[in-house]
């Protein structure tokens, strides 16, 4: 059994086969693909934020 600290206050069991496992909220690549399609369906709508962690992104040129 492996435990993981979540948001600094909760301990969760990360083994999905464990009967006490509770799924964490997170994003999969499929979630991102579905999101991206939703955004593309909006005329002149926004895009997924293209910035990467630790790299500056110039919003003023967006």
């Amino acid at each position: 059994m492996r435990w993981e600290l979540l948001h600094g206050f909760a301990l969760l069991i990360v083994d999905s086969r464990d009967p006490l496992h509770i799924p964490m909220a997170n994003l999969s690549a499929d979630d991102l693909r579905v999101l991206s399609e939703k955004l593309q369906a909006i005329p002149s709508g926004p895009s997924l934020f293209p910035g990467k962690f630790g790299r500056p992104f110039p919003l003023t040129e967006a």
């Binding site: 979540l6 909760a10 799924p23 926004p46 895009s47 997924l48 962690f53 919003l59």
Partner: protein
């Protein structure tokens, strides 16, 4: 390692009648010392830090609908850009109306950082789900009073219709799925 003492910490308003909300300023001063400067920002109030204006707006959805929150989401603005940070909040009509009122007819790009875009259906009870018995958010409901368990609640994030409305009324350029436990750039290579 600690945040330097001369840097103020901004927290939501608090009131002794709101026993369901922690008095963050007292907590911070108890932990970090009484000299620590703590600024309360009420909903609709703005503080200016250098070139950045920070305005608080309500953080809905963390508590049952019968408990009115003082918690904050924040809109950060410069003259050229705006970023709305909503963390785990449910973005309601009131939240969208606030953002539109602040940003309507302004050309500066807006980034919305929020939980996922959803259908707009309310949950059957506070943070309840019909599909799975043991879901991620049911943990919170263990601490609720019985009558609160059965109040329909707003989902985290923003409904598709509200998202479209915000997109049409402001220069919403980017959406960042946010507060999802793990940010995508930590988990997925080159997405």
């Amino acid at each position: 390692m600690m945040l330097p003492e001369d840097i103020p910490i901004v927290v939501p308003d608090c009131h002794p009648d709101h026993m369901w909300e922690v008095d963050l300023s007292t907590l911070i001063r108890n932990v970090l010392g009484r000299r620590r400067k703590v600024i309360h920002l009420k909903h609709g109030e703005t503080i200016t830090i250098g070139d950045i204006r920070e305005t608080a707006f309500p953080f809905f959805g963390e508590m049952p609908s019968s408990l009115k929150p003082f918690w904050n989401c924040y809109l950060f603005e410069t003259d050229d850009a705006a970023v709305a940070c909503a963390a785990d909040a449910a973005i309601t009509d009131k939240s969208v109306d606030f953002l539109i009122k602040r940003l309507r007819r302004k050309r500066k790009p807006l980034v919305l950082c929020a939980r996922l875009i959803h259908s707009g259906e309310t949950s059957p009870g506070f943070r309840d789900e019909t599909g799975t018995l043991f879901n991620f958010t049911r943990l919170w409901a263990w601490y609720m009073r019985i009558w609160d368990l059965f109040q329909p609640g707003e989902e985290f994030g923003i409904s598709e219709s509200r998202f479209r409305k915000l997109s049409q009324a402001t220069n919403l350029r980017f959406y960042l799925p946010y507060a999802m436990g793990t940010a995508p750039w930590f988990r997925i290579v080159d997405c």
